[in-house]
């Protein structure tokens, strides 16, 4: 079910009514049932993979939790008999037993993900190598990627690691855990929630609260606006440009880049608005995934404000453990004695950064363009880190740091950099991506834009007008949000005005939205990730 399909809206409406009708005690069970209905629409066989995940993290999580308990009990009972060394040794022993269980859980879950998502990628690479030796080709296997598997598996892995680290006790009730893993609004494209965060409201009893529900509905509406009016409309233009790289070079690549930046933002944040809005109408709080990312002044900052839950996931579960692991610290020590302090200090951070961005790229898609995209992100972040002394010198010399124009320059620079990297995401081929990117500088065809050629990429004058209006509205809303919640401000207006505004918004989405026959009904860009 797509978020923007009639059946999904019907599904939501039915769920919503039932949710506030059933006894509050079983609201969460109803939600669980709804998740499975939702998921079953994408094929019953996919459900099997999810059940394996749920069962494995429930069993192993509980086991690790029991080991925690037994350890604490043992230590409390033998407080007097054991010296510090013995206590430490005992802890280590328990820890290593727990680690084995954790690794088993990771093996099962990441294994499912790896096999389903990356088998064909591996085969393709093997075939390339065999091609060099003129050996025969292996055939691809047909594996359908279950919907949202990258998201729910990451969520489950996060839960496993947290339990292992003793951040919170494991969930005993398998149904509650199942609800956490399968919570339908975030199955499509995230956010990647944490158990300790989501469980605070997920299992609670919720009575109908007009204000929360209104806020949720407003958020959903705003998401639909972004998705249907802006993203799905501009998508036509983006596709025209990127599907014909031979023809659309030079300035068109730049246009395509910027259009894609708009499309991706509107589609992804719009989808997350719908997700968070749905949860809100049910009284559940899902973590924000974006913090006005296009106002970032550097790539590092951008990644702290874009797809936040993914960034923090990689930070907490890959970057931190990797960069302070024993081998890394050893490496740091060695490099320090060998190459001096400067290198020693950097080597762990930079090596971990590159590894994290390699995995981030791989997570986004099983192909080289995503890996190169990820690594380039890492390289840019490292470069800007290295340029820090220069920046400091520059800012000491010229005090422009807080001037509007300088900030504007930084924001534009970040946006352009991010968009350039995303070319790899557009063309899905490393060679073509680089060729297209460099054609921006070598092919001077800017004059074509004034000749009205932009009307030949599938967008009419009316489309451009709507897009201009939509993008302006998104920017205005973002700017306004710096002064606090827009919905709070709206709530203080008279009810008829609020009603009229809401209906006007519904009508704009209904009429101007790019849906139905004549427009490609598009899957969320993040759907398959």
């Amino acid at each position: 079910m797509l978020f923007t399909s009639y059946s999904f809206i019907l599904f939501l409406a039915v769920l919503f009514v039932l949710y506030y009708l059933v006894p509050r005690k079983i609201q969460w069970l109803l939600l669980l049932a709804a998740n499975f209905v939702f998921y079953a629409f994408s094929g019953w066989d996919n459900l099997a993979f999810m059940l394996i995940t749920i069962l494995s993290i429930w069993l192993i999580g509980r086991h690790i939790g029991r080991l925690h308990q037994a350890r604490d009990q043992y230590l409390a009972e033998h407080k007097a008999d054991l010296n510090r060394e013995q206590r430490k040794a005992y802890r280590e022993a328990v820890k290593s037993r727990q680690l084995r269980w954790l690794l088993l859980a990771l093996f099962i879950n990441l294994g499912i993900l790896a096999v389903l998502k990356y088998t064909n990628f591996v085969i393709a690479n093997i075939n390339t190598i065999r091609g060099w030796f003129a050996a025969g080709e292996l055939s691809f296997v047909s594996l359908a990627l279950p919907m949202g598997i990258s998201f729910y598996i990451f969520q489950s892995v996060g839960y496993m690691i947290d339990v292992y680290r003793g951040k919170y006790p494991p969930e005993d009730n398998i149904l509650r855990l199942a609800l956490f893993v399968s919570f339908f609004p975030q199955l499509v494209q995230g956010p990647i929630s944490r158990f300790d965060d989501l469980s605070q409201t997920l299992f609670q009893e919720h009575s109908f609260d007009g204000r929360t529900v209104t806020y949720g509905l407003q958020r959903i509406l705003w998401g639909f606006f972004k998705k249907l009016v802006i993203a799905d409309r501009i998508l036509v233009g983006v596709n025209t440009i990127i599907r014909d790289p031979e023809h659309y070079t030079g300035i068109y690549v730049l246009v395509g880049m910027l259009f894609y930046a708009i499309q991706l933002y509107a589609d992804f944040t719009g989808g997350i608005d719908i997700t968070i809005g749905i949860a809100q109408t049910l009284g559940i709080k899902v973590k924000e995934n974006f913090d006005r990312p296009y106002f970032s002044k550097s790539i590092a900052e951008f990644w702290r404000r874009w797809h936040i839950t993914m960034g923090t996931w990689f930070r907490d579960y890959v970057f931190y453990p990797l960069s302070i692991s024993r081998p890394m610290l050893k490496l740091a020590k060695k490099s320090r004695t060998r190459f001096g302090d400067a290198v020693g200090k950097r080597v762990t951070v930079y090596l971990s950064t590159l590894i994290v961005w390699f995995t981030t790229g791989l997570w986004h898609g099983a192909s080289w363009n995503f890996i190169v995209w990820g690594l380039l992100n890492g390289v840019v972040i490292i470069l800007s880190q290295e340029l820090n002394p220069f920046y400091n010198w520059f800012h000491n010399r010229f005090s422009v740091r807080s001037s509007f124009f300088f900030r504007f320059f930084q924001i534009t620079r970040t946006l352009l950099l991010m968009s350039s990297l995303r070319i790899l995401d557009c063309y899905r081929d490393v060679g073509i991506s680089f060729r297209q990117f460099f054609s921006i500088f070598t092919t001077w065809n800017i004059r074509e834009l004034v000749g009205g050629q932009l009307l030949n990429i599938g967008l009419s004058v009316a489309d451009y007008l709507v897009l201009a209006f939509g993008v302006a509205l998104m920017i205005l809303v973002s700017l306004r949000q710096r002064r606090g919640s827009l919905r709070d401000a709206l709530q203080e207006r008279p009810a008829p005005l609020r009603y009229a505004l809401t209906i006007a918004a519904v009508i704009v989405v209904l009429v101007v939205g790019a849906y139905g026959i004549g427009y490609d009904s598009t899957q969320f860009i993040y759907n398959q990730f």
Partner: protein, 357 residues
């Protein structure tokens, strides 16, 4: 103050629904100056006096090839053509079912060309056949039977969902005909007076399989049964089109079907001389459809069968009816004169300029 609140809410809801309805009416295509065949189905529901001896169902081979005015003037038979562009057999069945909700004719005439189409062809023709039909169980079943892949049934119930993207191509026509519409046809007959003679007869390409599909027979059976249960006599007919080619193997199947079900089946292609069809003057598109001259000849021929073999009474003596039909005839001759004038002025008919068939 407190007591007023529910009242205001109800008022707001009504206002909202009214506004949405208005918006939907505005955005739906009007078919008043272009693509006139899109307005054929709506014409029927606008007809004040739904009491006809004969109802025609079928595609362009009925609404271009028969003239109810001629049937009236020559034989005093009242008729209505419930045709629409590319009307497929399930459309025909449900349109008949819907027509029977309003009246029960003596005779139903079905043009069997659509037997050759066994699956939905094009969303636009579904729209033309179904959009104007008032909501009913019949309509819901018709939608279900007709949808092409990727269509949403909800967008038939709320056509706003389908036509919303017309917001930027709204024209004066959409505002002018927001609350009213003019009939585009004469009891379902879409008039064209222009002429384009037949220049070549197509040589038929042999088909791998001539058997009409089961689904078409299923609906033909349903039409036959529906007529039988309502005590309506059914006539199957094939219009005199040169193209699409009507294969002998197809014809034989219809002959057999008619024999099996005790129906009259007329393949007018076999009676061209008797009808008096002249392919140099009686078609407007080189043999696909009849023009006015051809349609009138067809009606004269077919009316005789209805009157003599089916005993349909001459109702011209009914003064009230006659007055009504004279009015219709006047509009008919007015349009005829207009079209000749237009042909003289422009060399073509403006409403049909962009159409090939």
């Amino acid at each position: 103050m407190k007591r007023k609140k529910p009242l205001i809410i109800i008022l707001l809801v009504i206002l909202t629904i009214a506004f949405l309805a208005l918006l939907q009416a505005l955005l739906m295509p009007k078919f008043q100056t272009q693509l006139l065949e899109g307005g054929l189905i709506a014409d029927y529901y606008q007809e004040q006096n739904k009491d006809h001896d004969v109802i025609f169902i079928g595609d362009c081979e009925v609404y271009e090839d028969f003239s109810p005015i001629t049937l009236w003037e020559q034989y005093g038979i009242t008729s209505y053509i419930r045709g629409s562009a590319q009307q497929l057999i399930w459309h025909s069945y449900y349109i008949l079912e819907d027509t029977l909700r309003y009246e029960t004719p003596d005779v139903v005439v079905f043009n069997i060309l659509s037997m050759k189409y066994d699956e939905p062809q094009n969303e636009a023709y579904n729209r033309m056949a179904l959009d104007a039909m008032p909501l009913s169980g019949t309509k819901l079943r018709a939608i279900k039977a007709s949808m092409t892949e990727g269509e949403e049934w909800l967008s038939y119930i709320f056509p706003l969902l389908r036509y919303h993207s017309r917001w930027h191509e709204l024209s004066a026509e959409d505002f002018e005909f927001l609350f009213r519409r003019n009939p585009v046809s004469h009891n379902g007959y879409l008039m064209r007076v222009d002429v384009k003679p037949v220049t070549s007869i197509p040589t038929p390409r042999p088909l791998p399989d001539y058997q009409f599909s089961d689904i078409c027979y299923e609906y033909l059976d349903k039409i036959t049964d529906l007529c039988r249960t309502n005590d309506v006599r059914l006539i199957l007919i094939k219009a005199p089109s040169i193209y699409p080619y009507w294969y002998d193997q197809w014809d034989q199947q219809m002959v057999d079907y008619a024999a099996r079900n005790d129906l009259l089946y007329i393949n007018t292609l076999q009676h061209l001389e008797e009808i008096g069809i002249d392919y140099d003057t009686d078609t407007y598109d080189a043999g696909l459809h009849m023009n006015l001259s051809g349609a009138e000849k067809m009606s004269v021929y077919f009316g005789r069968i209805l009157a003599e073999e089916y005993g349909l009474a001459d109702r011209r003596g009914d003064d009230l009816l006659a007055a009504r039909w004279n009015e219709k005839a006047a509009a008919y001759y007015r349009q005829q004169a207009d079209q000749y004038l237009e042909l003289e002025t422009y060399g073509y008919l403006r409403a049909f300029r962009y159409q090939s068939d």
